[in-house]
């Protein structure tokens, strides 16, 4: 059924292969832009025939005060706790203010403008590959009509029915948990959001090239490592401000994607905000420090550790459910380690806390690229940047 869909012409591939571009050859550079809920990570890579020549990484915080009203931030954590994953972009389309999330469509042009201002001319001239926070994306199961050929409009319609939103979406197909299922899992973003980002980039004299999806960014990271034995599944956890996303990869394929309902650091940080009267950056700093031995006797640190461990336990519970499902679905599989990307992986104390709760080895992602030590918060941005300079660039 999906075979016929794959035959659909990809305009990008068509235009690149049929039209000769005289300047496509030679050195290439790409800016990976990972727009997160709390921070935006940028990694720039330039590749020449002799290898990677230059790379730079930068993190820009996106203060929530600029995104929502100050009066809303007080009750934000309380409201977040009881709510399931919601798409802020869709929420924005429906209502003027999205109280559930820090995301706001109207702020995207401002964010891109700020990012563009911070870039050097050489970096700004590169192609830009963007990944949006999972808060902006949806993973949906859709019911496809029982037909020989599945068209784009049929999928669009199914997504619109599933989301209850009549606006078009940019989507990509995800593997089904059950092979014989009539349902198809999709990864989708409202087209309005992708258009808005692309036009904001263009307005600020940047060249939008790609809007990627988090599971594919993780797949690329694993392909770069290329050290996974056969029948081994590698769960990659994107652990940052929002709720984590778990992607299981085997044999260079995405096998399973699950956006967790709990475990985002925002829940831990919300405790610090509410309990200690800290603002968000202070709470992040405190989360980094509370696991240090010098704060062992500090009641605030102990309280923070308690929230963090609770968060880890919630994540571990969800990871174990996902791993059990994968073990049941794919026989003779081995899962021996968990790779952590995102801001959570850059906090050693938090990783230790997660390791103490989990049976398999926890490995924060890191990479040395052209004399630049990249830590786990830059993993997705690095993957995006490398996708723009890779030999298999399409």
């Amino acid at each position: 059924m999906l075979k016929s869909l794959s035959k659909k012409k990809n305009p990008e591939t068509t235009s690149r292969s049929t039209i000769f571009n005289p300047l496509r050859q030679g050195s290439r550079s790409c800016l990976g832009m990972d727009i997160g809920q709390f921070e935006t990570k940028l990694v720039w890579v330039k590749k020449t025939p002799s290898g990677f020549q230059a790379a730079s990484a930068k993190m820009l915080s996106f203060p929530p005060e600029e995104l929502v009203d100050a009066s809303e931030t007080e009750n934000l954590a309380e409201e977040r706790r009881g709510l399931s994953v919601r798409n802020p972009f869709r929420a924005q389309l429906k209502a003027d203010h999205d109280k559930d999330n820090l995301w706001n469509l109207e702020e995207v042009p401002k964010l891109v403008q700020r990012l563009a201002c911070s870039l050097s001319p050489q970096i700004a001239a590169s192609d830009v590959a963007v990944n949006l926070s999972m808060a902006a994306c949806d993973i949906r199961g859709i019911c496809l009509p029982d037909s020989e050929r599945i068209t784009d409009s049929a999928i669009q319609q199914a997504i619109q029915e599933a989301t209850g939103d009549s606006s078009p979406s940019s989507y990509a197909l995800l593997p089904n948990p059950k092979a014989d299922s009539t349902k198809q899992r999709t990864f989708c973003i409202p087209s309005e959001a992708t258009l808005l980002i692309a036009s904001a980039l263009e307005t600020n004299k940047l060249s939008p090239w790609k809007i990627d999806g988090l599971p594919w960014c993780k797949l690329r990271l694993l392909k770069m490592m290329n050290d996974l034995p056969k029948n081994h599944f590698l769960p990659i956890l994107d652990w940052s401000f929002g709720n984590p996303t778990l992607t299981l990869i085997a044999e260079n394929k995405i096998k399973y994607v699950r956006h967790l309902n709990v475990g985002g650091m925002q829940a831990v940080l919300a405790g610090a905000e509410r309990g200690f009267g800290m603002d968000l950056p202070q709470a992040v700093r405190w989360l980094e420090l509370c696991f240090e031995s010098e704060f062992d006797a500090d009641p605030c640190a102990l309280e923070m550790r308690h929230w963090a461990i609770q968060c880890c336990q919630q994540i571990v519970a969800e990871i174990e459910v996902a791993m059990d499902f994968v073990r049941w679905q794919f026989r003779d599989t081995e899962i021996s380690r968990l790779m952590v990307v995102g801001g959570g992986g850059a906090l050693p104390g938090l990783c230790r806390a997660l390791q103490s709760e989990l049976a398999i080895k926890v490995e924060p992602w890191s990479l040395k690229l052209a004399d630049l030590e990249l830590t786990s918060e830059f993993a997705v941005a690095t993957s995006l940047a490398l996708s723009g300079v890779g030999n298999d660039r399409r």
Partner: protein, 189 residues
């Protein structure tokens, strides 16, 4: 079939962006080509003007013997002209030289038996530009009597040297007690 790579930019936008990128690529390519072409033209122009200068210098160098030959020819003809002129002048000056006059005077003196004394001699050059060889001689002489003066005039006339020989003014006595006569002979040649 699940793709290994995805691009969630809408297809139309992607197509437009790719076209823009291609356009920019070609624009840069043509810009660079134009720049290279302009550089080549400027360089070629510089080289051409340089070689033109060299050719001109070579031509000048080649043309120099011709100029020299022409100059030589011009000088030669001038020399010939000058030589002719000089010859003419020489012949004239030989014809009307004071020595000739002196020999005539000597002849006249012997004709009158030595009774002749030259008091004044004045040779005038030509004043008429249309006749370059025209000239005149005024000779003031003293002789013993009038018959001698007539003989002297005859000697000058018979010489064929002058176009015209005539007495200028009347014969006059030099002193009351002597018969010596002073007269001026005007000869035109």
């Amino acid at each position: 079939m699940i793709e290994d790579e995805v691009n969630l930019l809408p297809a139309r936008l992607l197509e437009r962006l790719e076209k823009q990128r291609l356009f920019r690529g070609w624009l840069r390519f043509f810009g660079a080509s134009l720049f290279v072409a302009i550089c080549i033209i400027i360089f070629a122009n510089m080289q051409s003007s340089k070689s033109n200068g060299q050719i001109l210098a070579l031509q000048k160098e080649t043309a120099r013997p011709k100029e020299l030959i022409a100059e030589n020819r011009r000088l030669r003809s001038q020399l010939i002209r000058e030589k002719d002129h000089l010859e003419k002048v020489n012949s004239l000056s030989t014809q009307h030289s004071p020595l000739v006059l002196m020999s005539l005077i000597c002849s006249a003196k012997s004709e009158v038996g030595g009774q002749l004394e030259l008091k004044h001699f004045l040779q005038l050059s030509n004043e008429n530009p249309e006749d370059p060889i025209e000239g005149s001689v005024n000779l003031t002489m003293i002789t013993s009597n009038a018959a001698n003066s007539a003989k002297i005039v005859k000697v000058f006339e018979d010489s064929g040297y002058f176009k015209e020989v005539k007495l200028k003014g009347a014969l006059e006595k030099t002193q009351a007690m002597h018969d010596d006569l002073r007269f001026t002979l005007f000869c035109r040649y």
